[in-house]
Symmetry: C2
Subunit: 425 residues, 2 copies
Amino acid sequence: MDRVRVVVIGAGFGGLTVARSLAHASAPVEVVLVDRHNFHTFSPLLYQVATAGVAPDDIAPSLRGVVRRDRNVEFEMVEVVGVDFESRRVLVADGAPIAYDYLVLAAGAVSSDFGVPGVAEHALHLKSLADAIHVRRSVLCRFEASDRDPALIDDGELRVVVAGGGPTGVELSGALAELFTKVLAKDFRDLDVQRAEVVLVEATDSVLQSFSRPSRVEAVRELRARGVEIRLDAPIASVDGDGVVLRDGTRIAARTVIWCAGVQPSPLADALALPRGRGGGIAVGPDLSVETRGEVFVIGDFASAADRRGRPYPQLAPVAMQQARHVAHSIERRLAGRPTRRFRYVDKGTMATIGRRSAVAELPLRIRLGGTLGWLSWLGLHLVFLIGFRNRIVVLVNWVWNYLTWDRGNRVVMPPTELEEERGP
Amino acid sequence: MDRVRVVVIGAGFGGLTVARSLAHASAPVEVVLVDRHNFHTFSPLLYQVATAGVAPDDIAPSLRGVVRRDRNVEFEMVEVVGVDFESRRVLVADGAPIAYDYLVLAAGAVSSDFGVPGVAEHALHLKSLADAIHVRRSVLCRFEASDRDPALIDDGELRVVVAGGGPTGVELSGALAELFTKVLAKDFRDLDVQRAEVVLVEATDSVLQSFSRPSRVEAVRELRARGVEIRLDAPIASVDGDGVVLRDGTRIAARTVIWCAGVQPSPLADALALPRGRGGGIAVGPDLSVETRGEVFVIGDFASAADRRGRPYPQLAPVAMQQARHVAHSIERRLAGRPTRRFRYVDKGTMATIGRRSAVAELPLRIRLGGTLGWLSWLGLHLVFLIGFRNRIVVLVNWVWNYLTWDRGNRVVMPPTELEEERGP
């Protein structure tokens, strides 16, 4: 019997989990995992790269390294531009199409501006490793510029607006505030770093909407204690080079605006002639396959999937990973001539860290952790899920260092113009 | 008595050592250390960044962090464009001039093409952190491209020419060969990585010219044992998009050419109206000051200094650091009304590492270390000199990891186009 070829597009939490699940499958499958990067991005720690707490490399394990021992898994670094569903081939930007028997679309999401003018031109994001390096560089350069010319501070040079009070916005705000008051205040002795501000702007009446009320209250209290200014019920009308304008007309002058207000499926979705569901993801049935194309599965933020009651799944790594394992099983079942099953998400809880010795965690059975205990469980869980033993050690060293010294060791500004210099052919 | 202001241009080994020496001076000086980067580059480990052994961040300590406790040292991230020696002010690209009483020029060196055509357009270098990231990306991308289309290998896609057999060329060649055979051979299972080649091209009859004959013989033997092809007496006539042409007409097809053949003083030298010495550096007297400007000192690769017998000093970090301490003392002596002294370089030895358990070291009293012992002393010395406790731990973790697993954990390709996307203002 010939080997069945499964092509997985995207090596985020979802795609990588599909590949690794099928690596251990009993069915005779070969997997081709494709991504435009040669590394997996451990996105929960992007905010720590952005705030100089860990090195970019340490949350970006080599994909070839990850699947090295999985003999039936092959990686290709290519940019997917489309899919020919009739001939069952994935079209790539630079190279021959890749034939498949089964296709798993796990291309993830990108930041969404929700149509707010100016976001595309003026805001930073925190979805990719390049985004995180960009935020780090931008924030540090603002401090350098203010140090040279303190008059700039009057125009918001040291004010950072974080747009969106979800977990990403909360984690980034807390980490930025700590970076300012604990690290940069010592770096810039002549600068009145008290004037540096982090403003968390949220459209609804609360941060961390998906969390319980006690966790939301704790998050607000802890953020404020760290000096984060929180603006609730403050939808943003527009972003420009001088800051943001709220829908009530208030202007917040800020030279740095980081847009964490939400995501949309990655642009590849537009290149695929497949029905879209709520939120713009590819519409899938209960078993996560495309209705008219049973051999195509969609998972994670690229999918528009809903539970039995029609509620969309939260856009979280655990959802993508559970869906990935479900799809791997579904492919095995198909190959064995058995029907696929409905996907069921088992909520094992969510967490958000606010800063040093502070995090909120909501576990099943209404167990809620906060403060130091929440923070320690956040640290432990993220270390366990980080891929690669070396990365775990190095990140742990950084965390211990950061904790003991109140320092952030990765304050590197690498101008893109230097990296860009293409001296080679 | 007013504080005397010493401005130090460049925060490499020389400049940083001047600043730190004056931080502990008894004289009432204040130091302004300027650099266009906000980090110090620990250049001896650039080749390990280029070969994915350590993260860029780990050899780039924050300069503000380094001088944080030195109350009389201030750092400014600016690009120096010239010096007005009459009014004693340093001119910067973007901001007010910086006045000085004493000036230390420690702007270092850049790669020199020695007039060989095509180097500027087609070769990579290994002088800066951006260079190292560039080499890493370029080499890894060549493997990805060859994996997609093995026919490219016939045209030298997987052949790397390292031009120049000095310590940098030797260390890089050895590390590249190990990366290919130990790491990438496992990453690219479908590729015949045996066909990847490192060719070390040297114009003279030997690598490591400044080392003793036994060390040179050992270096050649160890490099060849690792699969490096060594071409001696092979001066390069030109570099182009397809490889290099030797002066005897031989063409070596190679898609990657890394130019390690020598350095010249950084371009700032051209903007200064100061006499130049041998090699293009700023000419200095025995005490390392400029003859006509006693308040201006020049050190490291930016200086053209010679010993009592007229021999130029080697372009090594220890020279720059000893000169830095000498200049710091000279400034103190001047302030105390005492004459300055002649600089004397104390050669404490040189080292070059070839690979796993192999390095050569030449110490005073004709002591020569090689093999594992040389390698261990190389490791120890570089760990000690690496700045920052956190960096030392993280680099040590990486080294232990690399040694035990034969792995290189930092195989990250970050396209410059992504880093370049200036979404912000």
